[in-house]
Symmetry: C2
Subunit: 267 residues, 2 copies
């Protein structure tokens, strides 16, 4: 199995603290040593760093640790190979362009007897069931809304039911915990295991589980900042993380959950 890490914020934020603990699970505090990746959005564009080495000792991961990249949407993944060999083509996150936006996807879980009918607009480059699932979601979006441009992209409330239906379909084949973003929102589907935390004013201290590192978020934020962090399991041992319900899809925007299973989340 793999592990997921996502971040969605209302102001560009670096992910150094969370990544520090998460990367340890890539071969050090956990067994996910078969490659890893991280994608950062800047507007509609995303840049994705992947490496086939374990995150705990990858030179690319070392770069991410030392070079703070601020972003409002980040998706990261560490891999324990189940389907598909250890090679770059099989490293998550995967990236595709749709409607003039980068879409980024990462998956935790295994799918059985999963052979989606992909018509060719989005095809996997590697061998994983995960990349097939990503292609199926994008195909569903394209089938639902056709070709769009920056002038007439569908609204988030219209995109959500299509993503949710596709996730439901795919989850019938097995475990489908996934993170998906187009740079405007972050979609998180839980099939078995996913947790999140919203950090907002007044900010407190937090201490990582996977290494002895502590940060006082009050020192590195402004009162209007809001950050949602989503992970396979909690990254800190002194904060309260919320577990997703099995089968649920949450949409995060500006650092908070805005849609849960099709319904607006009241704030």
């Amino acid at each position: 199995m793999c592990q997921l890490l996502g971040m969605n914020c209302n102001t560009p934020t670096d992910i150094q603290f969370s990544f520090e603990g998460f990367a340890k699970r890539g071969g050090l505090t956990d067994e996910h040593g078969d490659g890893w990746g991280i994608a950062f959005f800047e507007g509609n564009a995303a840049r994705c760093f992947i490496d086939h080495k374990p995150a705990s000792n990858s030179p690319v991961a070392e770069l991410i640790r030392s070079y703070p990249i601020r972003s409002t949407n980040v998706i990261s993944h560490i891999r324990k190979a189940t389907v598909g060999e250890v090679k770059l083509a099989n490293c998550h996150p995967f990236v595709r362009e749709l409607w003039g936006q980068a879409w980024v996807f990462a998956h935790n879980g295994d799918l059985k007897q999963y052979n989606p009918q992909l018509h060719g607009d989005f095809l996997p480059i590697g061998d994983t069931d995960s990349e097939q699932a990503f292609c199926e979601i994008l195909q569903a979006l394209k089938q639902a809304f056709g070709n769009r441009t920056s002038l007439n992209r569908p609204a988030l409330r219209d995109i959500e039911p299509v993503v949710r239906a596709a996730c439901s379909d795919i989850a019938r084949h097995g475990t489908f915990n996934m993170l998906l973003s187009n740079g405007q929102a972050l979609f998180a589907h839980c099939s078995t295991k996913l947790q999140y935390i919203i950090r907002a004013y007044p900010f407190k201290q937090a201490h990582l589980i996977d290494c002895d590192l502590q940060v006082d978020f009050g020192q590195v934020t402004t009162p209007k900042d809001r950050v949602a962090v989503i992970a396979t399991t909690a990254l800190t041992d002194d904060e309260v993380w919320t577990s997703f319900e099995a089968g649920s899809l949450l949409v995060f925007q500006d650092g908070q959950a805005v849609i849960k299973d099709g319904l607006p989340v009241p704030h």
Copy 2:
């Protein structure tokens, strides 16, 4: 204007030596300080590193300098912004998936009154004429061959005329020096300025123009290795580089030019 660097080899090779000189032009020995990028193929997949900082002092470029990534197809670009502001979405190379392969593209030049009819399968994420041109080439390929999979991708000899026609069309709008690869071959179109060199046995020494660095390729190669390096201008001062003819398209495969303007290159 920007500068291009490409490498096509018959065996996975690192690009450290060439990149060392090339990156110096990104803000140090030349003025191309508005971002840069480099993409490495591994099979049908590509990983692309981009940064908006000048290549001469970017932490991501420092990683590339210190972490040898071996690949048979590499495309790199340093940017001097002409159209489109300095931001990640405007950094080359650009990457898209077609027929289950990553396609990577970088461009040097300016296009005038260039507004291609893009139907929506490939749309630019940023603001550059370059990314529009990339989308037009991929659209031409998709229109010519339809949806294909790994089982029935068109052959290189069939792809080449489509790429060549698209390049000709685009070059009517201005300067169009470009590098394009799908991991199997590297296409290089010259409109004004592009040079290449083939390095093969017996290998010799070479010395960079942009910094005082020398390598003895005989020490780091095997007799069967063959490497084509393509650049806007020669990177070494003690080797003979060949200038492209204006308006020509060369296709490189396994470290040598195999098609020139539609005709097989004899060896």
